[in-house]
């Protein structure tokens, strides 16, 4: 998660949720996100809530981290219970970071075991971890699979050395096929993250990265346009003119190239930046975010959502650990969405999905905008006739504009 936290209402220290959050909970999917805020080095473009050992200065050590998170999970089970939220087995679990695989697999396994003990895992549950290609070994992946992980998402980013260098990545391109092979051998599904639009990346570079990724036949692929986040080292380097800025047209060209190559390789988009080989290969955990399901987010800076109440934890690992040690909720703030905000988020998130947004769920102002979106080639006409707002290829690149038009007031 990005490092700046929203401003919200104060969150109670016992973690009890408003009664609106509990209503209807028995019918909703339930997921768990576990944030691991550690990385070996900080990449120049990244503003996620993550820390290198040097940045933490020895304070909250990586070794103590798993027990701390386990404590939050226990706290979570109690708080949900006290709030009257129906206890349900987990549909998805996602370990993200940071670099989760910087911790020993045994730590991740123990956390997963705690979750399973508290809530249980539904049969066929999706359990993912993010990983850097150079932070896994055949043994560590085997151990994860044995503990119940089903999926690993590698931060490949690019296959081109000069691009990886600008991104400050530590792994070499050759490491990725190996990591993928080991994951396969351990029985894990594989997803790859790519970044396009890095300063200095030529269209051929991007094409080569796509080819390299596709030759590994991933089950799932995310392609993100590089965002130059304020306050990052890369933003400073661009401002000083040390690396060239990248314009939106370059991003658009590369997005179109990605869609072409991925489609040709038999993958289909299901969200603006995400493609899967089959419907089963879609990342159900991410879909849960976009469809407004319930999930608990554990770890510093992690975000949670249950029945229209969102909250987020304190950002710094030390502050986070102190809260839990004191038996208090680690939440920094929260907000309970009113109907208007819920509607806005629903449109905002689901419009980005290939399954689209039902026109019947739009308010009158939103329905009014549909014809114009068809006329401008931003949504697919046939889908609209069927009652679904689905982005066209052009519309995917202009999705924010489409959303603004669907939410005119």
């Amino acid at each position: 998660m990005p490092s700046a936290l929203p401003l919200g209402d104060p969150a109670p220290s016992d973690g009890v949720l408003p009664s609106s959050a509990a209503a209807g909970s028995s019918n909703r999917d339930f997921g768990l996100y576990v944030h691991i805020p550690f990385c070996a080095v900080r990449c120049g473009y990244c503003d996620f809530n993550t820390y290198t050992a040097a940045e933490l200065g020895g304070g909250a050590s990586q070794a103590n981290y798993a027990p701390t998170v386990q404590r939050e999970l226990e706290f979570a089970a109690g708080a949900l219970d006290r709030s009257g939220v129906t206890g349900r087995p987990l549909d998805t679990v996602f370990f993200g970071g940071g670099t989760p695989t910087l911790l020993p697999s045994g730590d991740l396994a123990r956390v997963l075991t705690t979750a399973r003990t508290l809530w249980g895992l539904r049969p066929g549950a999706e359990v993912t971890t993010e990983a850097n290609p150079d932070s896994v070994t055949p043994a560590s992946l085997e151990e994860l699979a044995a503990a119940g992980f089903t999926r690993v998402s590698f931060g490949m980013q690019s296959a081109v050395p000069h691009v990886l260098a600008v991104l400050d990545r530590t792994h070499s391109p050759e490491r990725v096929p190996l990591a993928v092979q080991w994951a396969r051998e351990a029985g894990l599904k594989v997803s790859l993250d790519l970044i396009y639009g890095t300063p200095g990346e030529k269209l051929q570079d991007w094409s080569a990265s796509l080819d390299a990724a596709l030759s590994l036949e991933p089950d799932h692929l995310s392609a993100y346009a590089l965002i130059i986040e304020e306050g990052t080292a890369l933003a400073r380097r661009i401002r000083r003119g040390q690396v060239p800025a990248v314009d939106d047209d370059d991003h658009a060209d590369k997005y179109e190239l990605a869609e072409c190559a991925l489609q040709a390789a038999g993958m289909s988009w299901y969200e603006v930046s995400n493609w899967a080989r089959t419907d089963e290969d879609r990342c159900r955990h991410n879909l849960a975010y976009w469809k407004g399901h319930d999930w608990w987010g554990a770890g510093p800076g992690a975000h949670s959502h249950v029945g229209g109440t969102r909250w987020w934890n304190v950002k710094h690992p030390t502050a986070y650990a102190q809260r839990l040690e004191a038996g208090e909720s680690p939440a920094a703030g929260r907000e309970t969405l009113d109907d208007g905000a819920r509607y806005v988020e629903d449109v905002l998130l689901r419009t980005r999905l290939a399954e689209g947004y039902p026109t019947a769920d739009l308010n009158p102002a939103g329905r009014n905008a549909v014809a114009g979106l068809i006329a401008d080639g931003l949504i697919e006409p046939r889908e609209a006739f069927r009652g679904v707002v689905r982005l066209s290829n052009r519309g995917r690149l202009l999705a924010d504009a489409v959303v603004r038009r669907l939410l005119p007031d």
Binding site: Y224, D249, H303, V344
Partner: protein, 617 residues
């Protein structure tokens, strides 16, 4: 050295013989308001701890820009040779746009302090204001200010001043408004040299209205100078032009806060409150008299200031039109120079065509409307007024390019000005080149001193009213000063240049220009708009045309990407906030056809490159 007056003469019972009415006139920034500060302090009307620089510049805009916009009158006590006098001082603005404020103030005075910056010497508005003072038969006290400055050249400029008004250099007083040096001597000289007002105390009252200001709490406050007779609280007064009568709810003097008095007598300067809500009922230049004993003839007033520059003002949000209408109405209560009428624009919707005295006046009015009435406004390219004669001999007055008749034009006349430029003689060539480029015709040139010249030109108003002054300043390293006044009209070869976005004419950017300059305007405007209008979901051609002939074109390519690709994990709140921010940004756009044009584009496109962001001094 005179002490501060021990007992101030009481208003309404002051013998005209101990009254001195004067104003401070000067070129902009020569230090009028600062000198006024010292007078407020020395005479004790403002306590030391309440003092702040340019005390009389009270409007936010005046303080921010460091210039005076409205004249302010203050009554000051001063003692000389054991006699207490009542001085009425009027601080005036120096900018050429507000010359009419100066001329109104002059009519309330017997004398004027002609202030000249001792490091700058005589400048164009020094001459203009001196001329106005002499026309009003005022006694002039020449004063050099800022003698504390290391760059001051008192001998040189004293000679220049003496030469100008006729007198000896030794008669020129040397002061510093900053340190206060010489200010007491100046106050003494005001008492000894300026004539006392004369009037008939027993005649029916005649008081000249020289300012009229709308105040939210007190209604209209009218500033008068009593010439004959006497005005008393609670009596009924009459406005001689309209014959309307009002009760005098309050009468008093400013010192410098409003202080009610038992009335005002011959020669006194003060204010009246009658409860009227509209300054037009209490018009500047009108004569106030007693209803019970009215005067038979009014004092000669002054001509209404004539608007020189016209611009359309439109609310960014069409729903704000009624707010803008009310705001203009209120502002007009305070600003007799403001004229307006409703107009509609194909591109901008409902708005007003407003007449101004100059570009600074436009800028300030716009800023006040935005600030005091919380409006977001678009102002269209400023225009002068053209007189177009059609082939059928009918005459149209055009203040808005969109009203420019198509075809069948027999003749177009444009307003002219006579301009006076003062500068060191090394710049004569540059200045002549600039004026010639602006279609000017030289009227003459005089040496003020060995190395400073006065150059006179007759120029089309349209050529000088926008960026001319900034050009003049930058080409003369800031040394030249300019003054101008209206001077008839002339036939000119003018054309209308239309600007089109996506083939749709946007009247806000159209202009009437000389035929030789149409191409340059078209290239400049299309180029600027290309920079200022963000990319849209479709391609936007920008064209400049004279009639059907395209003279310049640019193209804004369609935007291809408007989506954040990154997964924000579960931080949906941030995504929603981002959407709100994007939508906020869109609200600051004006829809022109289908094109979203940012408000800044209207402002920036209409100002010339050189004049952007610069203080107009």
């Amino acid at each position: 050295m005179s002490p501060m007056a021990r007992t101030a003469p009481v208003p309404a019972a002051t013998d005209p013989a101990i009254i001195r009415n004067f104003c401070i006139i000067a070129h902009i920034d020569h230090g009028k308001s600062t000198l006024a500060d010292r007078m407020l302090q020395l005479t004790g009307v403002v306590e030391q701890r309440d003092m702040k620089a340019q005390y009389l510049d009270r409007m936010d805009i005046e303080r921010e820009r460091g210039i005076t916009i409205k004249s302010q009158a203050v009554r000051l006590p001063w003692e000389l040779d054991g006699v207490s006098y009542a001085l009425n001082m009027i601080d005036t603005p120096g900018h050429v746009d507000f010359t009419y404020e100066v001329s109104r103030s002059l009519a309330a005075c017997e004398g004027a302090i002609l202030l000249v910056d001792a490091a700058q010497g005589i400048e164009a508005q020094t001459l203009a204001n001196l001329y106005l003072a002499m026309e009003n038969d005022l006694t002039i006290i020449p004063v050099l200010n800022k003698i504390d400055l290391p760059a001051a050249q008192p001998e040189k400029y004293a000679a220049e001043l003496a030469n100008l008004i006729g007198g000896k250099p030794e008669d020129v007083l040397l002061v510093s408004g900053k340190t206060g040096v010489g200010v007491e001597a100046l106050l003494d000289k005001i008492v000894s040299d300026l004539p006392a007002p004369v009037g008939d105390a027993s005649a029916p009252a005649r008081a000249m209205i020289f300012d009229s200001v709308y105040d939210t709490y007190r209604g209209v406050v009218t500033y008068v100078r009593v010439v004959d007779g006497h005005l008393s609280p609670r009596e009924r007064i009459q406005m001689m032009s309209t014959r309307a009568s009002h009760e005098l709810l309050e009468i008093g003097v400013s010192s410098p806060e409003p202080t009610p008095s038992k009335g005002l007598g011959v020669g006194e300067v003060g204010y009246l409150i009658t409860g009227v809500k509209d300054v037009r009922q209490s018009k500047v230049g009108d004569t106030v008299t007693n209803l019970a004993k009215p005067a038979s003839s009014s004092l000669s007033g002054y001509a209404d200031p004539k608007p020189m520059v016209f611009s359309g003002l439109y609310p960014l949000d069409g729903a704000d039109y009624p707010v803008l209408r009310d705001a203009l109405e209120k502002l007009m209560l305070n600003d007799a120079a403001l004229v307006y009428e409703p107009e509609t624009s194909a591109a901008l919707g409902f708005g007003f065509r407003v007449g101004f005295l100059g570009l600074l006046h436009l800028e300030i009015t716009r800023e006040r409307l935005e600030r005091e009435y919380n409006l977001s406004l678009i102002s269209t390219a400023p225009n002068v007024e053209y007189e177009v004669t059609l082939e059928d001999k009918s005459v149209v007055h055009v203040t808005n390019p969109s009203e420019y008749p198509a075809g069948k034009i027999a003749e177009v006349r444009e307003p002219m000005v006579s301009a006076t430029i003062l500068a060191p003689n090394e710049f004569v060539g540059t200045i002549m080149e600039l004026c010639q480029g602006r279609r000017g015709v030289m009227g003459g040139m005089d040496y003020l001193s060995e190395d400073r010249v006065e150059i006179r030109y007759r120029l089309p108003l349209a050529e000088i009213v926008f960026d001319f002054f900034d050009m003049l300043k930058s080409r003369t390293r800031g040394y030249a000063s300019l003054d101008w006044k209206a001077d008839g009209d002339q036939v000119a070869d003018l054309v209308k240049v239309d600007i089109m976005l996506q083939g749709e004419q946007v009247d806000a950017f159209s202009a009437i220009t000389h035929r030789d300059k149409a191409y340059a305007y078209g290239v400049m405007m299309t180029g600027k708009l290309r920079e200022l209008i963000p990319r849209q979901q479709f391609e936007v051609p920008i064209q400049a045309a004279i009639g059907a002939r395209i003279i310049a074109r640019e193209n804004i390519r369609a935007i291809r990407k408007d989506v954040l690709a990154k997964c924000y994990g579960g931080d949906i709140t941030r995504k929603r906030k981002l959407l709100e921010k994007q939508k906020e940004g869109k609200k600051r756009m004006k829809m022109v056809g289908r094109v979203e044009v940012p408000q800044e584009a209207f402002i920036a496109a209409l100002s010339s490159d050189e004049s952007k962001d610069k203080a107009r001094k």
